[in-house]
Symmetry: C2
Subunit: 633 residues, 2 copies
């Protein structure tokens, strides 16, 4: 497909936008009128700039409040159109978006609308230009594509066609399936936007909260599928009004935009295949190897130096991990417990070392087990992921890898690969079976404006799913969390952001100078046994206020002995509506950065203990300030 994006979707001056659009690999651009008005070069110069950059101008937009305008204004409105036609010819584009009239004094008489649009199409046609007519969700009389097609059909002019925008249909809960019945060549243009589902005024929602396909909650494959069925083969274009995008770096954001279109195309292709619709032109949609099946996290790799490596190793041993191996040629050690493999890397001149230099002690790689690493890598690269090949010594296993959005690595490890036997001298006598069984989840702290980009990365490259966002109070602001999970849920990745300076998340970000791991949760079968062992071994546990347990007593029917045990071990508790139960305990942070969680799920509890995050964040704030604030009083 011809992939396009509207200039309004990006931040910057017009030349900055056009450069970013070309660099991302788009084929075309919609020129949003205001971007042109505010630019101090002529339309001809913009035309030349686009030509030099190799992008087509797919559309000029918008032309407002035309059809059904007050009759005494019609001729003035036609003059206004002619001025804009002049401009389009200078720009070298033949298509203009006319959006349905939203003014209070416009008339809705169908014949008038048909006549007005035919007249405009006639004027446009005289110059070889075309009109794409779009229903705004807040149009005064016309706000559905069905009305638009009805008018276009009756106007019956070759220079007048339908222009579709997913937001205007899906925000009103419209059914897009009838689009399939519009002749493909009467659809002149298609705009795509996703959005979170918000119960608010549709105009405000549209102007501030649109996002790229895959970042929101609309069923966009359900919108694009009937368009493909109609036989449409024109541009697929992004038109995103988003407050965050208006300030985001345009190059990275444009790259996300292209990735979101590829993702939408793949999902639409799947949808058409599921429907077994015999659609010939589905082949114009992006195709890539399907995502792998995943079998959990194979290992986590920490970037440390010798000193911090020894410290972290000591921490982990107190949590029951065993030193299970030493790398044959590098300063890299392996700690194991149950199915959990943790690698501490302090090798100089390595990827881990440069990561350590940039971010301090941190998680520098995540290895995930896949069915077929070659096809997983091919998919990642097709989605514009950046593959990584590191230094590999003699006898070392080569691992396919791709960069995560924070610059860390995601290794793609074949299920049958023997990762450790090749590279490590394994400790023959190490007892590995133990209380902590597997990595339940791994939470990340991200800059607030990068959440959408991360969600799109994991959805597209790895075909992960995203849970709904939850908002949680920290004593110094709000924390937002959105969990990603592989389709089988064997890998879970809550992403945390905060827009406030002094929250736990913001503290983690500033210590990392960027994003980084926030905590890692280990699953077990008997929380009290594990916590008791950890406590005895001297693991510093996060202290939970007794008032929390008084409230548990009011909310649940626990006996006092059980409550005392929970309180003694600082174990938090949650119960879901289906009777699923969660027990979990947190450690203090390691070097003020990441911390560990020991977790026990019962009866299918699927969440992350959101009900307890606020008390944890308050305890962390107190721990950061060393309890001094209270002492001062």
């Amino acid at each position: 497909m011809q992939r396009s994006i509207a200039t309004v979707s990006l931040s910057g001056t017009l030349p900055e936008k056009l450069e970013a659009i070309a660099a991302a690999g788009f084929d075309g651009v919609e020129i949003f009128e205001n971007d042109l008005l505010y630019y101090d070069g002529s339309p001809r110069e913009i035309r030349q700039m686009c030509a030099d950059l190799g992008i087509a101008i797919t559309l000029f937009q918008p032309f407002r409040d035309f059809e059904g305008c007050r009759r005494d204004r019609l001729s003035r409105n036609l003059e206004r159109a002619e001025r804009k036609f002049d401009l389009m010819q200078e720009l070298g584009t033949d298509l203009v978006l006319v959006c349905s009239n939203a003014s209070a004094d416009s008339v809705g008489d169908e014949q008038i609308l048909i006549d007005d649009l035919r007249l405009l199409a006639e004027r446009a046609g005289a110059r070889g230009l075309r009109i794409g007519y779009e229903a705004l969700a807040w149009g005064r009389h016309v706000n559905t594509y069905q009305q638009v097609w009805n008018i276009v059909r009756q106007a019956d002019h070759p220079n007048l066609g339908v222009l579709l925008d997913s937001f205007h249909t899906l925000s009103l809960k419209g059914d897009p399936s009838a689009i399939a019945e519009i002749p493909g060549d009467k659809i002149f243009f298609v705009q795509m936007a996703d959005a979170p589902i918000l119960a608010m005024d549709v105009l405000e929602w549209s102007r501030h909260f649109r996002c790229f396909p895959g970042q929101g909650e609309f069923d966009l494959p359900g919108f694009l599928a009937p368009i493909i069925k109609s036989g449409y083969t024109g541009p697929l274009s992004l038109e995103i009004f988003n407050d965050g995008f208006r300030a985001a770096p345009p190059r990275a954001n444009a790259a996300d935009g292209l990735r979101s279109l590829l993702y939408l195309e793949e999902k639409t292709r799947q949808r058409l295949a599921e429907e077994a619709s015999a659609v010939g032109n589905a082949d114009i949609l992006f195709a890539t190897p399907p995502a792998s099946e995943y079998d959990g996290i194979e290992f986590l790799e920490f970037a440390v130096d010798d000193n911090l490596g020894a410290k972290l190793s000591h921490w982990l041993e107190r949590l029951g991990f065993v030193k299970a191996g030493q790398h044959r040629s590098k300063n890299v050690s392996l700690l194991r417990q149950g199915d959990i493999n943790l690698i501490l890397n302090s090798e100089p001149y390595s990827f881990a070392h440069s990561f350590f230099e940039a971010h301090g002690p941190s998680l520098c790689a995540t290895a995930i087990r896949v069915k077929n690493s070659a096809s997983a890598l091919e998919r990642a690269v097709a989605y514009k992921g950046q593959p990584y090949r590191g230094l590999v010594g003699p006898n070392e296993l080569e691992l396919a890898a791709v960069r995560a959005p924070d610059g860390s690595l995601i290794y793609l490890v074949d299920q049958q690969a023997d990762v450790y036997g090749t590279d490590f001298n394994l400790q023959p006598g190490a007892v590995i079976g133990a209380g902590l069984k597997r990595i339940d989840h791994m939470a990340m702290a991200l800059p607030a404006d990068s959440l959408d980009s991360w969600v799109l990365f994991y959805k597209s490259l790895l075909d992960f799913e995203a849970d709904d966002e939850v908002v949680l109070p920290d004593p110094y602001g709000l924390v937002k969390s959105r969990a990603l999970r592989s389709r089988c849920s064997s890998i879970r990745l809550p992403l945390n952001i905060s827009e406030n300076r002094n929250t736990a998340i913001s503290h983690a970000l500033s210590s990392y100078r960027g994003s980084g791991v926030h905590h890692i949760a280990f699953d077990c079968d008997d929380i009290f046994a594990q916590v008791s062992r950890a406590k005895e071994a001297g693991v510093p546990l996060l202290d939970i206020p007794l008032n929390y347990y008084d409230d548990l007593a009011a909310r649940f029917d626990f006996d006092d002995e059980f409550l005392s045990e929970l309180a003694y071990f600082n174990v938090l508790y949650d119960r879901d509506a289906q009777g699923g139960e969660l027990f979990h305990v947190y450690t203090e942070p390691f070097e003020g950065r990441f911390f560990f969680e020991i977790i026990q799920r019962k009866n299918g509890y699927a969440g992350y203990g959101a009900a307890n995050v606020a008390v944890r964040l308050a305890a962390m704030a107190k721990s950061r300030s060393g309890g001094l604030r209270h002492a001062k009083l």
Copy 2:
């Protein structure tokens, strides 16, 4: 009145919140349950802390989902209540907020609700505790105060009363007037919250967008007046869920909270007086001298050093200002034109000097003309404004002054005062009549999280009014603007904020290291004469792209000659729905900070040219980057 605030309204740990509440001068505090749960001291310690700080615990809240609960849960729910009663007794408060049941499986049968609440009141009464029953706007069966009063009346128990919250009534567009008919002693507690009018889900609106009285759009005096009429004399308490407040410094925010209550009380007292309601207990409301009538800006004072003072003086002279005087004893000069007086202050060891040291060349004082400066100062101080007395030499006029929120001064100058004759050697021959006539408005750039605080400052201390907020696009993000104006509109003060790093507003903020003046607009009768003179004198005007004028041509019926003139002089144009017209032109910024605007209003145009702000911001962005971005392409 006893003034109170809920802990949830502020950021920080519980001790930080309590300290801030006491420091602001509140009499009491509502303990929000979660703040207690997350705190690692006992309820008795909190009680002691409040006693030491001299604040009463006015309320414990909330107790949820009680009345009409599933019958099999009633006894468990009563146990839960008894646990919380224990806690209240430890805290030493006798009143708990019970909010109407919001759970889907609750029942709405009136007799059941009455019986449940009577039972709870009986249990509370046995301990000398009281129940305040509140209607949540999203309550399952009960969501108006009328329903609450109906139930309380029928339950007829001395320990059960009505609890009112302005948000829950006004968000549903409820009419508060019937509150006057509830006996005052059956109203146990009153919570006050304002909010902007938002077309969104009421629960989300309530949880994230409440604000202090006077910062939003609710008619709160209309809510409080009937409460006073009822004979209520209990606490007036703020319960504000606001995402910004959760991260704001608690001391400054608590001070705003108290100010907002005083403001609400004054406005309610006025409302009652207007209604000529003979309400005896209106005297419990805060009273202060009424605001002055204003007669515009007497002078603006700039903090400079000798070098920048000479530069700025040269700038202003090119704009037609005349050096009209030199201070008798200080390094301070006066420039005049029409009714505009500008003072450049580079006196060492002065207030202006310390302001210059902190902020660089900037506006350090604004003198406004008032009818009675003594009473204006008294009012400002009653509203917790910080009065200022500076160094005054022999023969110098003493001016009443109060600190603005940015630390600059607001002088309150009596209309009849001869400000300049006493302090300045006036230039006898200076010709002062000229093209620029008066200060039309003065726009400020503020940190994003301080807008509400500024609005409240000007509304309360000076009784200004605030226009609705407008949102405008900068090439690198969004700018929000809210204009304050004195009631006669002789002083106009648009306040601009931006949450994005790279906008014009954020650039101004970082140059000032804080807030500062963004631009100053001078009014004239003939824009072309003024701009032509300025251009000839070498004033650098902000360059407006020609594309903007092409669009004016499409939108308005201008002849080409007139359009060329507009474009030649970089004059922007706007027309309002009533035919009011605005012509305006901007200078480049002085030292990258503030700039000037020349403005001509015709036919009663009352705005600030919002339609042209985006093109101005784009031109400013280009000017900042020296046009390099385009040249690079």
